[in-house]
Symmetry: C2
Subunit: 285 residues, 2 copies
DNA sequence: TCATACACGAAAATCATTTTCTTAGCTACC
DNA sequence: GGTAGCTAAGAAAATGATTTTCGTGTATGA
């Protein structure tokens, strides 16, 4: 049940000339092939039905019907992972919803694919063992920082997230060994965030960065770089998809922390949850 | 290209007895049907091939082959949109990433499906014409509120987002006709947020809510209720997926605003972007 | 140059699908 | 109550698509 289209493409060079024509046609117009009959496909690729039938056998696709079936399922999976949709003037509401859905989904799956389990594990490690966790991020990334901060506090970790650059530096300057600094910036070039992380590093804290994929100042500075998928150029205000991707990573880190120490953290989560409720009840609601 | 399986299920009651058996078999074993011939399917459902063929015609599936094709593509799409994964103790990092990916993607597509274009349009309307926009939300929803706030400010809209309950009420109490209040709460039962929205409503402001789907205090209070998909019970800390879904809606609203008045807002976006850059340069970076 | 092997298409055989024809059961109107 | 008309549904015929067989032509190597 592996990727048929891919294996056709890969094996093309070793194929007979006629089979190459067939392979070429299939890889170039897969969605057409699905609707065609075997004779029509034979015509289109200047061969005979018999050759096409043999071709299918060679790829152990279970005959022509089987090939069409596999193609259909593979194609169905494609569009979801299709290219990012740019958003331009005059779109209808429906198309905005669809485009946004596609972009966000794409952004999440791309980022998942990009995450290196080793770096994730290291990040979890320094987060788990940190005395104090500082989270840096401004503007859009500040929102993500806030979110991470809230999560950490809820499981009883000592964390701070300032969006004020002065406070970031101030906080960074009192970190030390055994502490962890976590810097978020999509571009990886936000000066305020870079300064804060550099300061934290000088103080001996473990440093983690969360930036777009590719070389950038922030990730080169960090001990443990984490990446979100980087968007195509021209993408209108890429920060929407990037922020979703960043939160996705934050969720993974948080969940990683919680599951690693399930027994320790889950009661704390419940506790904080109950406490908010109780406090409200006492106010008479 | 709509959901064939769904339409079969929905139309079942109005079908002939024999057609019902066929429909039942198809909906119960769709992945089997894809591999079966028409006669085999006829045998399995105690009918004749002719009846199955007619059945396919009735559903405008383009014959039995067409039906199989559609089923195949729909089934291929299913697993990705499969049920929410619960996250429990002792998961490996890889499985956490996968589960989180599935949950977030599911959450985004479900929410997209749930959005009512009419309500969206109304929400855009009151946002576009608002003098002042107040955004309410505490804790997790506060992060989303912040995000929305930042976006609105960037296109030059007068907006505020307080996470402090007192400030929320204070701000709400100086709203008036022509203003808009936007309240975010996953449960729709957060007392602070409800209070703020009620206050805004009393002052004559247009009210929009963003809550989970289903009856809740906040959405019943709002002029324009918007919904995110609600998660199954037992889902560990549902607020992760819900926050992604809320941001998804915020992004759609924001994009809707921008595209509706493309020429007005895009220059402002560029402007704010350039200004931040310029300011940094002047500082000598 | 001949033998062998292989690719390929034509046509036959097979198999699946659709259509037509027929029957049985039902309803409504005489 | 009987009969005409309708519908559902299967049997069988017709159609159409796919696979296999078979034969030809071409290339390769002895």
């Amino acid at each position: 049940m592996s990727d048929l289209l891919r294996s056709i493409r890969e094996q093309m060079p070793e194929l007979n000339p006629k089979e190459q024509t067939i392979a070429a046609f299939i890889t170039e117009h897969p969605q057409l092939v699905v609707r065609l009959g075997i004779t029509e496909l034979a015509d289109q690729s200047q061969t005979s039905a018999a050759t096409v039938s043999r071709f299918c056998k060679n790829f152990h696709a279970g005959g022509f019907a089987g090939l069409k079936l596999q193609l259909a399922t593979e194609l169905a999976l494609q569009p979801a992972a299709d290219s990012y949709q740019d958003i331009v003037a005059g779109n209808t509401l429906e198309s905005i919803v669809t485009a946004m859905e596609a972009n966000h989904i794409r952004s999440i799956s791309d980022t998942s694919r990009l995450l290196d389990p080793k770096q994730l594990a290291r990040a979890l490690d320094v987060l788990r063992n940190a005395g104090q966790i500082d989270i840096y991020g401004v503007a859009t990334s500040g929102v993500v920082a806030q979110d991470f901060y809230q999560k950490l506090v809820r499981i009883g970790r000592r964390a701070t997230a300032f969006s004020d650059p002065h406070m970031q530096i101030t906080s960074a300057s009192i970190l030390g060994e055994g502490d962890t600094a976590f810097a978020i910036s999509y571009s990886g070039e936000t000066p305020e965030t870079i300064d804060a992380l550099r300061c934290a590093k000088e103080r001996g804290a473990a440093t983690v960065s969360l930036t777009k994929y590719g070389p950038n100042t922030l990730s080169s500075l960090a001990d443990i770089p984490l990446y979100t998928s980087s968007l195509e150029e021209g993408m209108r205000r890429g920060d929407m998809a990037s922020r979703i991707a960043q939160l996705h990573v934050v969720d993974i880190l948080f969940t990683g922390l919680v599951t690693e120490s399930f027994d320790e953290y889950v009661p704390k989560l419940e506790q904080s949850f109950q406490m908010v409720k109780k406090y409200r009840k006492e106010k008479g609601r």
